[in-house]
Point group: C2
Chain length 737, copies 2
Amino acid sequence: MTMSSQQAAPGSTASRDRLRRLFTPRSVAIVGASDRSSWSHRIRGALLSIGYEGEVFFVNPRGGTAHGATAYRSVSEIGQVPDLVYVMTSAEASLAAIAEAARLGTRSAIILSSGFAETGPEGLLAQQRLAEVAREHDMAVLGPNTLGFANPARRVVLMPMQPGDELEPGAIGVVSQSGNMAVQVMSMARSFDVGLSLLASTGNELNVTATDVLDYLVADDATRVIAVFLEAVTDPAAFRAACLRARQAGKPVVALKVGRSEAAARAALAHTGALVGDDAIISAVLAASGVIRVDSMEDLLTTADTFVRSGPIGGRNLAVVTISGGGCDLAADRADALGLHYPPLGEATMARLRELLPAYATPQNPLDATGAAVADAPLFGAAIAAVADDPAVDVTVAIGEIEHHAPDSAWGLDSVTAMTAAARQAPRPVIFTNTTIHTISAGARAVRHELGVPSVFGGMDRVLAAVAKIADWSAAPVSPAVQTHPPASVSPAGPVSPTGETPPWPGPAGSPGLPARAGTWSEADARRLLERAGVPVVPAVLTGSPEEAAAAATQFGTPVAVKIVSPDIVHKTDAGGVALNRDGREDVIAAARQVLAAAQRQNPAPRVDGILVSPMRPEGPDVHDLLVGVVRDPDWGPVLAVAMGGIWTEVLADVSRVALPCDRTAIESAVRALRGAPVLLGARGTPGVNLERVVDAIAAVADLAVRLSEDLVAIEVNPLRVTTDGAEALDVTVQWR
Amino acid sequence: MTMSSQQAAPGSTASRDRLRRLFTPRSVAIVGASDRSSWSHRIRGALLSIGYEGEVFFVNPRGGTAHGATAYRSVSEIGQVPDLVYVMTSAEASLAAIAEAARLGTRSAIILSSGFAETGPEGLLAQQRLAEVAREHDMAVLGPNTLGFANPARRVVLMPMQPGDELEPGAIGVVSQSGNMAVQVMSMARSFDVGLSLLASTGNELNVTATDVLDYLVADDATRVIAVFLEAVTDPAAFRAACLRARQAGKPVVALKVGRSEAAARAALAHTGALVGDDAIISAVLAASGVIRVDSMEDLLTTADTFVRSGPIGGRNLAVVTISGGGCDLAADRADALGLHYPPLGEATMARLRELLPAYATPQNPLDATGAAVADAPLFGAAIAAVADDPAVDVTVAIGEIEHHAPDSAWGLDSVTAMTAAARQAPRPVIFTNTTIHTISAGARAVRHELGVPSVFGGMDRVLAAVAKIADWSAAPVSPAVQTHPPASVSPAGPVSPTGETPPWPGPAGSPGLPARAGTWSEADARRLLERAGVPVVPAVLTGSPEEAAAAATQFGTPVAVKIVSPDIVHKTDAGGVALNRDGREDVIAAARQVLAAAQRQNPAPRVDGILVSPMRPEGPDVHDLLVGVVRDPDWGPVLAVAMGGIWTEVLADVSRVALPCDRTAIESAVRALRGAPVLLGARGTPGVNLERVVDAIAAVADLAVRLSEDLVAIEVNPLRVTTDGAEALDVTVQWR
C-alpha cells in the first residue's frame, strides 16, 4: 500500500533521494543477528563478499556476541545512528525495533520478517502500525516480507546470499515484487555472468513500491535497462508515468507481469492480498507505456541483457553469422517464427565474403562461415565485420560458443579479440550469443570481462526473441504525445459538446437533454451522446406509436429496423424488442406492436420511451461490421477494444486493445492488427473499406470515453458498419456506474 | 546417402548388430594421432576421462610417438586388427586408411575428416569411392565430416572433448545430423547434469544414417527416450517405420527438424547437399509417426529429460507445489498458455494439506506451501505426497531450487530426501524442477545422484511445455492401425473401381473410360474418378453445344453453372471458362457461348471435350465450403489437407494436415482442429453440418489418393460444399506427373 498522501511521489527528486539513501547506506544495523541464524550468516556473508566498506552493527536483545563481534541489545545501545536497519526478528519485535530506530533518526529500513499483511487481518493491523511509524519519521521501509536488495554497483548487498552467489556489477536494474523471483534473477545472473546495477525485492510494499524503485532506476546512472517482476501494481497511474519517464530516458522497461490466468489470479490473491487486474487491460496499458512484456524469468533477464549489449535496434532486418550449418538452420527457423527478416546481402558484402571464405562456403544470410573459422582465428571476426557493414542489416547476431572456447582452444583469444573489435567498429549493433544455454568457465568469464565481449547469455532461442522485442521497442514513438497533450484525433476546435458547453466537457454530472449518469442509458440517449461527440450514427426517429413508426419508416425509403426504447429492457434483442428488415406500412405497424408486446412480457408495466425506427443498411461483399467498445477500468483507466464483428468475434476472438488516450496511428494499427484486417482492407482484389473514416469514427468514440468522467463503465458500438464510403454506428450502448 | 540395396535394413538384427559393434569397440586405432593435433589430444583425453578399458593404438605415417606411446606408420603395422578406426587425416589419406583397415577386417570406422560430399563434385566422388570400399567389406562408417559418438553408458567416447566435458551415463539416446548440435547437447548435458545413453553425430551419412542410429536406440536397453536433430531425412519411409517401432517400444522420439523457413531450406542445401522437404508435410508425417516435435535444442533435451523422470503422463491435469507465491503465479500462467489444467483438489487432499500447512497458507492447486517448507524439512515432501495422491491429478511438478540448496542449506538433505521418497511412493508421476534455469553445484550433483532425485533441468518454463507434450504423446494410440492394415474408412467390400476391376485398384496405368495418367485431367474425367471412388459429387451433364447445355439445364430446375471442359484450359475460372448462376434457356445458351469464346481467346483451336452443366447449390447460414486436397510428396507420401473455404483459407490460412493413410478419427480431428470448426459444428445455436457425412466424403478422397499409384501429384476438391444434410464436391481437379 502506497503512502502517497504523505510521501514524495515517484519522479520527484525527494522520492529518488529517499531511495538513494535506502540503497547506499554508509552504516547498517542487523537486528536479530545471531550465530545460530542462517539468515544472519547469509546477510553478513553477503556484505563481506561484496566488500561493503560501511560500518556494520549487530543487534540482539540477548546481547553477547554475533559473528565474533559485539551484539548490542538494541539499536540505541550502538551509540550512533545507523543509516539503515535490517530487521529479521518476529513481527512484533520488528515493529519495536523500527520504531526505536526511526525515533533515533534512521531513515531507511528493510524488514525480512513476515507475519504482516500477507497473513491476515491481525498482520494487516501490525503493518498499519508500522506504516504510521514510518510516515511519522519519514522512514523508507523496504518490505516487510522482503529479502532486501543487492547493489553490486555500489558494493552493498543486503539480501541473504549463499557462498558463491557473488553478483557482477552491470547495467540491468531489477525490481521484483516476489522475493523468490529476485533470488531467481540472482541465480541466473551468477550462472551466466550477467551484471546487475541493482536487484530489489519489494515484498509487502509498506512505503517503497515497485514503481518507486522503477522510477529510481530511471534516474540511476548505472542502469541502462530496467527489468520488473510484477504481481499487482498498487498505483497504476504512477506506474504508467514512471514507465513513460523510462521511455523518455531511453531505458527500456522489460516486465514479467503474472496473473494471465484465472488460476494465477487466485494464487496472487492468496499471496499478496492484492487484486490482479484483468490481463488484457494490463497488456494494453503496458504496450501504451512502452513496456516490453515477456512471459518467463529467462526472457526477462535475456531481453534486458541483450539491450545492454545491443542498445536500440533500428529494424527487423537481421544478419546471423555462425560456424555451423545446423546453427544456421536453427537461426533461420527461429527468426522466421519471430517475424525477423534476413535481407539479402549487398554485392559489396558478397564480394568481401567471397574473398574471406573458403570456396565451399556459400556467402549468404544467415551465413555459415564454416569450420574454417575455427582454424583461422581472424576469419570469424572479418566475416562479422563484412556482414555488419551491410546497409541492409539492422542488427548482426554472431552465434557460437565464444565463452566456452575462449581461454584454451584453437579458436581462442585471437578470434574473440577479432570478433569483439568487429562489433565495436560496426555501424549498427552486433551481439554474440551461445547457440544454446550452458555454463561458462571461470577463464571464459575473465576473457569476457577483460575484452568487453558483447555476448549475451541465454542461447539463440531466447536472444533472437529479445532482438525482435527490442526492435519493436526501438521503433515505437519515444514520447507518446497522449500523455501530456490532448489526443491528436481531436480537432483543434474540440468535439461538439452534448450540452453546448465548451470543453472541458462534459460536466461532472448529467447534462440538459440527457439523463443522469447512472445505470444503462436507453439507446436513444446513447445515440444522442455519441452523435454529439461526432460519431456517425445511423439516422433514427423516436416515435410514440405503431402508427407514428410506420409514418417515420416511409421517409427512409428502405426496409427499417424497429426497436423498443425502454430503461427496463437492457438486452432488447434477447427480449424480442428488435424487429429487423421491416418494409411497408402494415409490416412496420406489426413490428412495432410486436416489440411493445415483447416489452410487456418482460414487465407488465414497462417504462417505454418510444419506438425507434431506423433504416436498414444493405449488406454486401465490402460491407463489414466491427465492434468498437471502451471499458474504463477503475485502476488502469479506459481501454479501447476493436473487434471484427459477427463470427470473427465469436469464433476467433479477433480483438485489438489499446489503452486510452491514444492517437490516430494507434487506432489504425489496432484495426490493421486484426486477423480479419485483410477482409476490411480489400482481400481478393476488392477495394476495401474507407479506413480513414473508420479510424475517424473509432477515434471519436475513444475521445468521448476519455473525456467522460470516471463514472463511465463502458461505451459500445455494435456494430459499427464499415463500407467503402465510411463508417456508421448501427447500435450503441452507454453504461455508467 | 544410404546404401540400402547392400546393407541390412534398419529394424533388422543385422543392422542393430552392425551399430552395436560400431558403438562398443574393444579396440580403437586413431589414424592421424599426433602431439601437435588438438583433435588428437581431445579424442585421447575423452577416452581417458571416460575410463575406456579397450586398447588404443595411435597411427601416424611419420611414425615416432604420439601422446607418449608408439605411433604406428599404418594400421597394418599395429599387428592386430582394431575393432574401429577413427580417422582424422586429409580426405585422400582417410580413404587409404579406411581401405587398409577394411581389408584387414576392421568392421567399424569414424571419419572426422571433411572434404567429401559437402564440398562439391570432387568430394562427392571421393565419398562414392569410400562407399564402395565400405560396401565391399561390410564396414559401418560414421561420417565422414562427423565428430563421432559418445557412449557414456558403455564407457566409450570417440568424440573430441575438452577437459571438463565428461558426460554422465543416463537414459537419453541422442542422434544429430549436425556435429555442432551434438556438441550443444554435450554442453547442456554437462552444464545441467543430464545423463545420456548415447550421443552420435552422423555427418555425411555414408552408410550410417540418423534412422539407423534411431533404430539402434529403439533396441538399446540403456535408452528410454530418443532425441533427434534432423536436417534432411534421406529415407523417409524407413525413418517413419523406425519411429513407429520406437512408439511400440514405449520410447518417445523427440525431434528437432530444421527447415521450417525458406531461409533455413537454403542454408541446409548449402550444408548437407540434401533437399529439405516441405515443412508442413514433414509436420504431418512426424505427427502420424508419434514423434514429439520441438523447436529448440533446449526443448529437445528438456523434453527427453522430463520423460526419463516422468515416464508416460496420463493426462493434462497438473498439480504444482512450490514454496513461493511468485513461482505459483508463474506456473499458473504458463500452464494456462500450454493448455494444462489445474484440477481442484479433493476434500481428502484439502484435509491433509490443512493439517500440514501453516494457517496463513491456502490449500489449493497450484499450491504455495510457503516459506514454512523451508524451515520444516519434511513439510515440502508431505505436501507433494498429499497432492500427488489426489486422484484428479495426472502429474505433479514440484518447483524449487532443490539442487542449488541441497548440500548445505537449512532446506537441505532431509527435505530433498522427503521429496524424493514422496515422488517414489506416488501413484502417478512426480517430477521436480528449478524455477528457472541455472547451474548446480558439484555438491548438489552428488546429492541428486545419490538419492536418485527425479529432478529435470531447464526451469519450469520449458519443463511444463515438456509435460504438455508428453501428455499428448501418452494419450495418442500406441500403434496406429493404418501402418499395417487398410484404412479404417474403407468399407469391407472395398471401394467401387472406376474400371469395374476388383481391388487392388486402380491398375498401373490408365483404365478404360478414363484417359492416361498424365498432366491435369479435365473436370469431367476427374469427376468420374471421384464419383467411382464414392465421393459425393454434384450432378452434371457434359453437353456438346450451347443448345444441348440449355436443354440439360432445364432438368435441374435451378440456376446452373456452365463450364468449359478442355485439356487446354487448366485454370478455367481465371480464363473466363466458368459462368455461374445462369437461369433460363437464353441465359444458359449465352453462358455456353461465352465460355467457348473464352476458350478460344486462350487458344484459337482449343480441344474442347464439351460444356459441363451442373445445378447451383443454394447458400445459407448452415452452408459452408471446405477445400479438401491430397498432395503426394515423392519422399514422404500422400498428405491430406482440409481447409475452411473462401475467406478462411485466404486470410486465415486455416488448414489441417494429416499424413495418409489415416483413419476416420484422424480426419474428424483434422476438421475439429480448424479454427473455423465452431462455424461448421454449429456456432450461435445453429444445427451445424452433418459431420459424419463430411468425414465420409473426405475419407473417400483420402482413400482414393492412397490407392492411386505414385504418379499422382494431387487431388483437389474445391469446394466441398458441406451442409446439415451432408457433403458434395462442387469442383474437382486431379493432377498426375
